[in-house]
């Protein structure tokens, strides 16, 4: 089971690849170098879209988790979507940290600084790595889904802290350029276009990967259910009795 039909997924895959190639062309050649940071600023076209897509991915995880916890909308679809999106969030957060580190070295002179924005982002990364580990802890599917949904909502508290850290504390990291209270970003036309193109390309990449990751989540869940049914069958056959399934303890481990 996938989120998109196969034809749409294929078109999306081609569009994603094309948009990433265009992003590389604009980011590396067409956009002018920055007046102060020179070419090092070109890493912004990967760093900033990665960070925004990580927010989006964790937002989707939090929303899906809330929908799973709410009895009226409870469905395994939300749990699978939350898990799939969280893994992508970790991927994009890792990319944000890596690109930020590569950008920081020529501009700040250090690979890493104990700065509020950097530390809260690293905390976000490890919170969701923990969430992914929690999803792997063997447990009945419903219990696992509930505890993971709660963990995802708790972890999401760090997202606004990351975003506003540059306003709340004095940081080495620059303050917001685009999402300011007045929303009037002073960015050169081609640079602004490249930045927004990067956001578009990474959004397409996120949707493309989410569709695939959701399929994997569904397959693994089906496999768990089959293994559970098989284990119950074997236990019942072995005992020669008709023990109720509730007495057989088999986890949803992978």
């Amino acid at each position: 089971m996938t989120l998109l039909n196969p034809r749409l997924a294929k078109v999306l895959g081609i569009a994603t690849l094309g948009s990433l190639v265009v992003l590389a062309l604009f980011g590396l050649w067409i956009a002018p170098p920055d007046a102060v940071q020179s070419d090092a600023q070109r890493l912004m076209y990967l760093h900033v879209p990665s960070a925004w897509i990580a927010y989006l991915a964790f937002g989707v995880t939090a929303l899906s988790s809330a929908l799973y916890l709410w009895r009226r909308t409870r469905s395994p679809v939300w749990d699978r979507l939350a898990g799939a999106s969280a893994e992508l969030g970790v991927l994009f957060t890792g990319m944000t940290l890596l690109m930020g580190s590569l950008w920081g070295r020529p501009v700040w002179g250090v690979w890493w600084a104990w700065d509020a924005r950097l530390v809260t982002t690293a905390v976000l990364f490890f919170l969701y790595v923990g969430y992914l580990a929690l999803r792997r802890v063997p447990a009945p599917i419903d219990a696992r889904a509930k505890r993971c949904a709660i963990a995802a909502l708790v972890a999401f508290v760090d997202v606004p802290i990351v975003h506003f850290s540059v306003d709340w504390w004095r940081t080495l990291h620059q303050q917001a350029t685009v999402f300011t209270p007045s929303l009037n970003a002073h960015i050169h036309g081609v640079m602004a276009f490249t930045l927004w193109w990067g956001v578009l390309a990474f959004t397409l990449l996120y949707i493309f990967l989410l569709d695939k990751r959701y399929r994997l989540e569904t397959l693994e869940e089906d496999l768990d259910a089959k293994e559970l049914a098989q284990a119950i069958e074997e236990r019942v056959a072995g005992a020669g009795t008709t023990a109720p399934p509730g007495q057989v303890e088999v986890g949803a481990g992978r």
Binding site: S38, R42, L43, L46, L205, R213, L216, L219, L223
Partner: protein, 39 residues
């Protein structure tokens, strides 16, 4: 280009990371499909 190592290195690492993740995801899907069929 100034800081070419950082910039080209950054774009290369990002491209490689996404490509590896996509390939690994496909391998995990194929593995799960095979187990699902055999189960």
């Amino acid at each position: 280009m100034k800081f070419a190592g950082y910039v080209i290195g950054g774009y290369s690492v990002a491209g490689a990371a996404f490509l590896l993740y996509w390939l690994r995801l496909n391998a995990r899907i194929r593995h799960a499909e095979r187990l699902d069929r055999d189960a």
